[in-house]
């Protein structure tokens, strides 16, 4: 990443994040790094660093954040959430940031597939006769897909 020029950044990015459900707490961060210390992903993959992402967002590095690959590495364990002294609620801030990335068409392939599955089947795994026969053999009730509700709600 080349060195940023502050006057070329989008200072309103933090406000955009804060307007998403879950993103409200981002501006309260005072950069103590408790989130990063508690993050199990950061411990094994240095691409992902919660405090760095917050700082980048607060500075207005919208493009660098939304187009990055690292924002997709959060495991949503809520470890950062529990230790934050400022109640930033970073796990939810990450969801807000990912939602903004998707709105800007930065969406990883796997995620679109999940949405398609839900619209087609109302579930992550299709339930066919095979599954239901297996269930029946174990004395379990049949599963019925309600795809129409999901496709209506998600259109």
């Amino acid at each position: 990443m080349s060195r940023i020029k502050l006057n070329e950044l989008d200072a309103s990015f933090k406000d955009l994040v804060a307007r998403q459900p879950g993103g409200e707490g981002i501006k309260a961060c005072f950069a103590c790094k408790a989130c990063t210390s508690a993050c199990p992903i950061e411990a094994v993959d240095k691409r992902y660093d919660p405090r760095k992402i917050i700082r980048m967002a607060l500075l207005g590095m919208k493009k660098e954040v939304l187009e990055s690959d690292f924002i997709w590495l959060c495991s949503s364990c809520y470890g950062c959430h529990e230790v934050c002294p400022q109640n930033v609620r970073f796990t939810d801030v990450m969801f807000a940031i990912k939602n903004l990335a998707v709105a800007e068409a930065c969406i990883p392939a796997g995620l679109t597939a999940q949405k398609t599955l839900l619209k087609d089947h109302g579930r992550l795994y299709e339930v066919t006769d095979f599954e239901n026969e297996k269930r029946e053999k174990m004395g379990l009730p049949h599963i019925v897909e309600h795809a129409e509700d999901y496709s209506t709600l998600l259109d």
């Binding site: 590495l73 949503s76 809520y78 939602n99 839900l118 992550l124 599963i143 019925v144 897909e145 999901y150």
Partner: protein
């Protein structure tokens, strides 16, 4: 007590051993699970794409439960976490509830709330209780040693799990294991995340998290790792072979679901409890219990 059993996507297709053992143990302990055929996905898989969509999908399921006038009991940490969170958010943000209800109207539903959602483990803990479970045990699992794994959304965020268990010092699963007569081992990575949340984005990263726990547990005297979430199962059972190969480790950590363990103690057979579906056989556990 009566509750609506919320199966979610993964359990009824890939973890029938979890489902069948949960149903049998609930029945044995006087919990009536009612099935609601119209339940579908909880909405969690959409949260990274659009958190508002997650709210609408979760609220659909909550509205269906509300119509039945019953609370919801889930088996998956992610389903329980998502439904609980959305019920909580819609309670405190009336404007979001209205937004959600506008969309639910397109399928003829409306959610008023609140609807209570609890994990099956929380029902066992709060409605049955450790003492009653100990009394109900017909075949104490003496000599069986088990390692608990809670999973993140079982304990966090603590504002949703307050009054149940603590993310810093979790006890419920260990206590519920002890109630069966088995021993519990502690290990360094007890509270670690399984990595399942990031599996779809970076398999190496996800596996790195799961590797640590599998190695830790393999070094203890535990005969099996005990789970309560199908997402965690994907990592510890589903990925175990791959992890062992990559790390050149001779890993064979049996992975079981808590209701399977409880079921054995209540006198149910390993066959009834679906043990043949466990990929790494908990042979030592079954040998001690069934001979």
């Amino acid at each position: 007590m009566e509750t609506l059993l919320y199966l979610g996507c993964t359990v009824p297709v890939r973890n029938l051993n979890y489902e069948v053992s949960a149903r049998l143990t609930a029945q044995a302990l006087g919990i009536t699970f009612r099935d609601l055929e119209s339940f579908g996905c909880c909405g969690f898989p959409l949260k990274s794409i659009n958190a508002r969509d997650t709210m609408v999908i979760a609220a659909r399921n909550l509205a269906l439960a509300e119509r039945e006038g019953l609370e919801v009991c889930g088996l998956c940490n992610a389903c329980v976490g998502t439904l609980t969170e959305v019920a909580h958010v819609l309670e405190s943000r009336p404007e979001l509830k209205e937004e959600v209800n506008t969309r639910l109207a397109s399928i003829g539903l409306r959610y008023e709330g609140p609807v209570r959602v609890r994990h099956y483990m929380r029902l066992l803990w709060e409605e049955i209780g450790v003492d009653a479970i100990r009394t109900a045990v017909k075949r104490p699992l003496a000599g069986v040693i088990l390692a608990p794994h809670y999973g993140c959304h079982y304990l966090k965020p603590s504002e949703l799990t307050a009054g149940f268990d603590s993310p810093e010092v979790p006890v419920t699963l260990a206590e519920l294991i002890l109630a069966t007569g088995a021993e519990v081992v502690d290990y360094p990575s007890l509270k670690d995340c399984c990595g399942g949340g990031v599996l779809g984005m970076s398999e190496d990263t996800a596996n790195a998290l799961a590797t640590k726990k599998l190695k830790d547990v393999a070094q203890t005297a535990a005969h099996a790792l005990v789970l309560v979430c199908p997402f965690c199962n994907v990592m510890y059972e589903g990925q175990q072979k791959k992890i062992a190969k990559k790390a050149a480790l001779d890993l064979k950590v049996p992975v079981v679901y808590y209701p399977q363990v409880l079921g054995l103690a209540l006198g149910l057979s390993s066959e009834e409890l679906g043990f043949k579906m466990n990929r790494v056989k908990p042979s030592t556990v079954l040998k001690i219990v069934e001979g």
